[in-house]
Symmetry: C2
Subunit: 336 residues, 2 copies
DNA sequence: GTGAAAGCGCTAACAC
DNA sequence: GTGTTAGCGCTTTCAC
């Protein structure tokens, strides 16, 4: 078992050729160099026999290319972002790039640090996905000439590909209101929005979509119909409990802004009798296979993970990443 | 905006010192070299001003170290593996290693190819997680002297850290049988196992745990109580539908071998009246927050992601990865 | 306290 | 058809 790694020089010595010949054979430039078939074969054999593995640190250094392409995401353990990671790998592999996915835990300083690290490894492209603070990250990338695209959350310094949150929220709200039945009591005869953070761009757009549709289809809209209580399940649970107490029961429709919020809401709903649940229409922005099987009917919005990635790669492919465009990709409504 | 990257030579020229001085200042060996505080400060300033970013291809090449540590997983978009990825990153960061997570799609040839690529980038450690065929991968790692541990699925050529599937299946089965109520009809008065692949080590162990407990607590056990129909939801759905037809209703207890199988089973169960569901006890090996909120009560097994990773890193830390030990980590039973 | 120089493993221009 | 050579950007030994 050879413990010391073999290099092209070792192979060159064994084959009685020079290192450049070995290099040419082992990359794919050997046809142009018109190297003898026999020489090539011999070198290939030796490489196999001696378990040669190219040192990409060396070849990357020499070529000023790493072959690496990176993506940062907030977290791996999340349906949406792990789906994005999966799609990212597929698109990267199609292009023979080596994908690197790293999570940055919604921490702006970790986002920056991670991107700096990726740059020090000389990644050639970078997808900034769901970054809390995309612009400083973008700045670092630009300064180092790294092609990059913002995904999911838009920035002001590079092209962005995001979900069409406004449209998705409008569709969901329309569906909820159409499915709902009139209720006694002004307060309960309304649609309500719960979850997310109003500092968050995506949440803002969804609230806009929600309120615009409510204003259009119903007689009135009040600020009290929106509670951007945060993303955590516990917060959403508390928010809905409070709402229930305030308006004296469930409203006719409830827009829940993320599956994580839905987890909390569902915990509260489990404490209520079934008849009450069947009198309210629930909607969730984001999709989960099990959520669609809960005991109450639920309209869900599924983001177009593939569409987002395809567009991000299209932008990188055609070199338009420096243009500060924002492309919005429509999500899909999933009926119960 | 400086488009050309600056090197230690550029900084050296600007600071009127040599490249080796810059290098010492920018790594952390400058105290030992007793470099003047003033020199160090000046160099730091220049580095910041000129956006210096170390070239890790070069430094790695020189030091024969990459600072990289890799993990392969079957897929990102899976609760268990994405949880593993998240934990992996945490443990790697604690050690100042740079984590690389790549998915290999349960494809043995992609597993090999990916590991070869990671090795060509000179990763220093490797976690082989859920690999379909761990031994060839292990072989490549050994040949190149890369420290590695099998995780989730065991191999024969390196240390392995896996879930205690036998124990978990026993616990789950015991719980199911204890919670179940006797049924009329021999066939329906039994516990059944559905999902997974019998070629898969984890499934085998779970079937052993299941059948051993059934034999111990019930009068009899038959091969017909087990249907390792595959992992896909559709297959599990069909399997349960067939079982339902064969035994004339739901059994008294059902062991579902993965959340993905549960998705399919739940689709079938939704077509049945609630009373029928409440007469059967359901168990799922693997955990999902929404699954625990389905309309029928469900006992779940949650694998100890943190425990698995902690053990894998312990093995790497203490250098015992070459010993072919198999460590089993107990999962946790989640009652409805 | 700092500089000079060698070399990590590879590629590519040029030579013959 | 293949060899020679000069770096890519960094670290580290040795020198003073």
């Amino acid at each position: 078992m050879p413990t010391k790694k073999s290099t092209i020089y070792d192979l060159a010595a064994l084959a009685n050729v020079s290192a450049s010949t070995v290099s040419a054979v082992l990359s794919d430039s050997w046809r142009e160099r018109r190297i003898a078939e026999a020489t090539a074969l011999k070198i290939r054999e030796l490489a196999d026999k001696h378990l040669y593995s190219i040192n990409r640190q060396a070849s990357g250094l020499r070529k000023s290319k790493s072959g690496l392409t990176g993506m940062i995401i907030p977290q791996h353990d999340n349906r949406f972002f792990s789906g994005m990671a999966q799609a990212f790998e597929r698109f990267a592999r199609e292009r023979q790039w080596h994908p690197l996915v790293v999570s940055t835990l919604r921490d702006p300083s970790l986002e920056l640090e991670t991107v700096r690290t990726l740059i020090s490894y000389r990644v050639e492209y970078l997808l900034i996905t769901g970054a809390t603070d995309p612009d400083p990250v973008s700045k670092v990338c630009r300064q180092h000439g790294v092609a990059h695209v913002n995904v999911d959350l838009p920035g002001h310094m590079a092209a962005s590909v995001i979900s069409d949150n406004y449209w998705g929220a409008q569709e969901l709200t329309r569906e909820l209101i159409q499915r709902s039945r009139p209720r006694r009591g002004t307060l309960r005869n309304r649609a309500y929005f719960v979850g997310g953070l109003s500092t968050d761009y995506a949440t803002q757009r969804r609230i806009e979509g929600f309120s615009d549709v409510v204003r259009a289809l119903e007689d009135a809209f009040s600020e009290h119909q929106v509670d951007a209580c945060g993303y955590a399940g516990d917060l959403a649970e508390a928010a809905v409990r409070k709402l229930y107490a305030r308006i004296g029961g469930l409203p006719k429709a409830l827009f829940i802004n993320s599956t994580i919020a839905l987890e909390g809401v569902a915990r509260f709903l489990k404490t209520l009798p079934l008849e009450e649940l069947n009198d309210c229409v629930f909607g969730c922005y984001d999709w989960d296979p099990f959520a669609s099987m809960l005991s109450f009917p639920l309209v869900m919005v599924r983001q177009n993970v593939d569409g987002l990635m395809a567009e991000a790669f299209r932008i990188i492919d055609d070199g338009s990443y420096a243009r500060k465009t924002v492309v919005e990709i429509k999500p899909e409504l999933i009926l119960p």
